[in-house]
């Protein structure tokens, strides 16, 4: 019983570092986008009191990527936010692999259910 517990711990530490790397990478991309965004819009008035919803270019992953490639500040920020949203998803994928290596099939199935729900939200709702 104690052997799997140690394996769990090692997997968790690996995953923790993966998450931190993902967050720092996302923060860096957001920061780059912020500089470009502010260089262009700094002097304009801020108005967020009325909800309009984002433009289609900022609502789905393919549109965000193509905007970021054209160096649009808002799109680069949104790309960083997408990377951030992807870090917990990556964590779940690696957990599934970890459980598979431990031959814990019950938890492989549970992890895949969680992954399916996450992918539904990202793809099924039209975001990816």
């Amino acid at each position: 019983m104690s052997q799997p517990a140690i394996d769990d711990r090692r997997i968790e530490i690996l995953l923790g570092n993966l998450l931190r790397f993902g967050v720092l990478l996302a923060a860096f991309v957001v920061l780059v986008g912020a500089v470009i965004y502010l260089a262009r819009y700094a002097g304009q008035p801020a108005s967020y009191s009325v909800f309009r919803g984002e433009a289609a270019a900022l609502r789905s992953a393919p549109a965000v990527v193509s905007g970021a490639l054209r160096l649009h500040g808002k799109s680069i920020i949104q790309l960083g936010l997408l990377l951030l949203i992807a870090t917990p998803v990556a964590r779940v994928v690696f957990s599934a692999i970890g459980f598979l290596m431990e031959r814990d099939y019950l938890y492989v199935v549970l992890t895949l259910i969680v992954l399916a729900v996450l992918l539904y939200s990202l793809i099924g709702s039209g975001a990816a």
Binding site: I13, R20, L58
Partner: protein
């Protein structure tokens, strides 16, 4: 207000929210939404979108530190994430259908609950070692480090905890918060999981739960880069600094002050929602 001033002020406010959230254990997310709506008059849908993103950043950013301490239980987390992710999708869909005034009122009530929950004294821990068949079948039982060596614990009331977790996920998806208080309540009170294991495992689950509603928020246009950028960077920097000075700081007084602020914001959110101003 120009975009530059707006961005700087929100980044500073979010930094403070992240710092206080980490120092008090309440999480920064709970004050970001009231700050944006009450102080900066941002539409609550943009506010919850930005807050949700910052919640993922703090949860994922702190995970490594928590894991190293050896308290969090990956199986409890993964099993309960089944409930929180389904709840999160439900909450996010609900958020797009209910009036914003109702969201503001529910948010206010959750603030009041969080303040009560964080300032209430902690009863001494009594470990219930009676076996539970479902918990054993799901391999949820574990052990955690104490000064006198590892200590085993048994998990109980799995269906009740699972149900509460669905509710925690729904609140997270509806309000754009981590709903750590409800998650800890489910684990610590209902499932009799030791407090330290509950809080660290809860933190681990918050990011995955928030990611489940984030896709829906994004595709509905709730995540605005101009607001989410200063909120995410500010909260992340504040919470990383908070986690670093937490060991040295005396947090008891701070916790009461922060709880009082949260209560005031909660009352204000309920009042604003009631008047239809939010």
């Amino acid at each position: 207000m120009t975009i530059l001033v707006f961005t700087i002020l929100i980044a500073l406010g979010s930094f403070l929210a992240g710092l206080l959230g980490a120092l008090t254990g309440l999480g920064g997310g709970v004050v970001v939404v009231p700050m944006l709506t009450l102080l900066f008059h941002v539409d609550i849908r943009y506010a919850i979108g930005a807050s949700l993103v910052s919640v993922i950043a703090t949860s994922s950013g702190a995970a490594a530190a928590y894991v190293r301490e050896g308290y969090s239980n990956i199986r409890i987390g993964m099993f309960l994430e089944v409930a929180t992710t389904f709840g999160a999708i439900f909450g996010a869909i609900l958020a797009t259908r209910v009036p914003t005034a109702a969201i503001a009122i529910v948010f206010g009530l959750v603030l009041l609950f969080s303040a009560y929950f964080s300032s209430r004294p902690h009863p001494p821990e009594v470990l219930d070692m009676s076996p539970d068949r479902l918990a054993a079948a799901l391999k949820l039982n574990g052990e955690y480090p104490t000064p006198s060596g590892p200590r085993a614990y048994n998990v109980h009331h799995v269906p009740a905890g699972f149900g509460l977790m669905f509710g925690a996920g729904a609140l997270s998806g509806l309000l754009g918060i981590g709903s750590g208080a409800v998650k800890v309540l489910a684990m610590d009170q209902a499932m009799r999981i030791p407090f330290k294991v509950s809080t660290t495992t809860s933190n681990f689950m918050i990011g995955v739960t928030a990611a489940a509603s984030a896709g829906i928020y994004l595709s509905r246009g709730y995540i605005d880069p101009g607001i989410a950028m200063p909120v995410m960077l500010g909260v992340l920097a504040g919470s990383l600094l908070g986690a670093r000075i937490l060991v040295k700081a005396r947090t008891k007084m701070l916790r009461y002050v922060f709880a009082a602020v949260v209560v005031a914001l909660g009352v204000e959110m309920i009042y604003g929602g009631w008047k239809g101003a939010l």
